[in-house]
């Protein structure tokens, strides 16, 4: 198994394999997302409390899930790259950042749009939205650090340290924000929590989350191919790619 893994991590093999796999992940994701859209927007009944506004959950929850999941993937691959000095791992970490940041932004925007009909204001400092905002800052800091360092190897390794520091702090940040939030909101229930959810409401949500995840894999494969090219030092297989 280690030989297979080793072969996988070798840039030319990865480049070819990723190129073949990406369309499969991409189109499967597309089908799942379209299906989930139909299920969520048409098939699922309106919530008795929130009416049709609850349907925002089908874009908010998957975005929020992706923003967190991608950060963990980013930190894990950065750590692997740092400890075992595997360039492919660094390439994965670098590719995760813009994707993760965009999902964080989507989570914040859809969260605000969900908050207005529910709470009457466009922005509320509720625990989950505030945590998402801080997560966005963590992503932006990572991206800023990367772009400030010209040497790709130093950028890889320095941002890996930052990603690890960040992921260790995410639970602390989340806990402290939740704690802070409960101090100042005595009675309010967090409406961001899913309404008491029936199966017909739940299934489109799960399908959407799966669709988003597969989409992320496809995006990652495309981006990592480029990042692997950037980190390549010898001409051999690149020439074959160009041909």
């Amino acid at each position: 198994m280690w030989t297979w893994l080793h072969k996988f991590a070798s840039p030319p093999h990865f480049y070819r394999l990723a190129g073949q796999l990406a369309p499969w992940f991409g189109w499967t994701a597309f089908i799942l997302i379209v299906g989930a859209l139909y299920g969520g927007l048409v098939l699922a009944p309106p919530d008795y409390q929130q009416g049709d506004a609850f349907r925002i959950i089908y874009v908010h929850a998957p975005s929020a899930w992706m923003s967190l999941f991608i950060y963990v993937v980013m930190a894990a691959s950065a750590a692997i790259g740092l400890i075992w000095r595997i360039k492919l791992a660094h390439a994965v970490a670098a590719s995760c950042a813009p994707i993760g940041a965009s999902f964080t932004f989507a989570a914040l925007a859809t969260g605000a749009l969900w908050g207005q009909p529910m709470w009457g204001t466009w922005w509320v400092w509720d625990a989950r939205l505030t945590s998402e905002l801080i997560l966005l800052f963590l992503y932006l800091g990572y991206i800023a650090l990367r772009s400030s360092i010209d040497d790709l190897q130093r950028a890889d390794r320095a941002s890996a340290v930052l990603a690890i520091v960040g992921v260790v702090n995410v639970p602390i940040i989340h806990y402290s924000v939740v704690w802070w939030n409960t101090l100042h909101q005595p009675a309010t229930v967090t409406k961001m929590a899913a309404p008491s959810i029936s199966t017909s409401m739940l299934i489109p949500l799960l399908v959407m989350i799966l669709g988003f995840t597969l989409c992320f894999v496809a995006l990652l494969l495309v981006r990592v191919r480029g990042e692997v090219l950037r980190r390549e030092r010898s001409a051999g297989w690149i020439r074959e790619v160009m041909a």
Binding site: D52, R55, G226, I238
Partner: protein, 56 residues
């Protein structure tokens, strides 16, 4: 669900549809950006190859 109810989203249309539009934009934007990033890396590699920056 009727077509008019679908579009009005029970009165919440002004919140629901922008939310979906933003998410769709993020997804499509990601696809375009990922492909652009790969394309740029290919061009960079071509340039580095041409300038002899890469070892044998």
């Amino acid at each position: 669900m009727s077509l008019s109810q679908f579009f009005s989203m029970g009165g919440y249309a002004v919140f629901v549809w922008p939310a979906y539009a933003i998410t769709l934009t993020v997804l499509v934007g990601n696809v375009l950006a990922a492909r652009a990033s790969h394309r740029r890396a290919l061009e960079e590699a071509r340039r580095r190859l041409g300038m002899g920056e890469l070892a044998r």
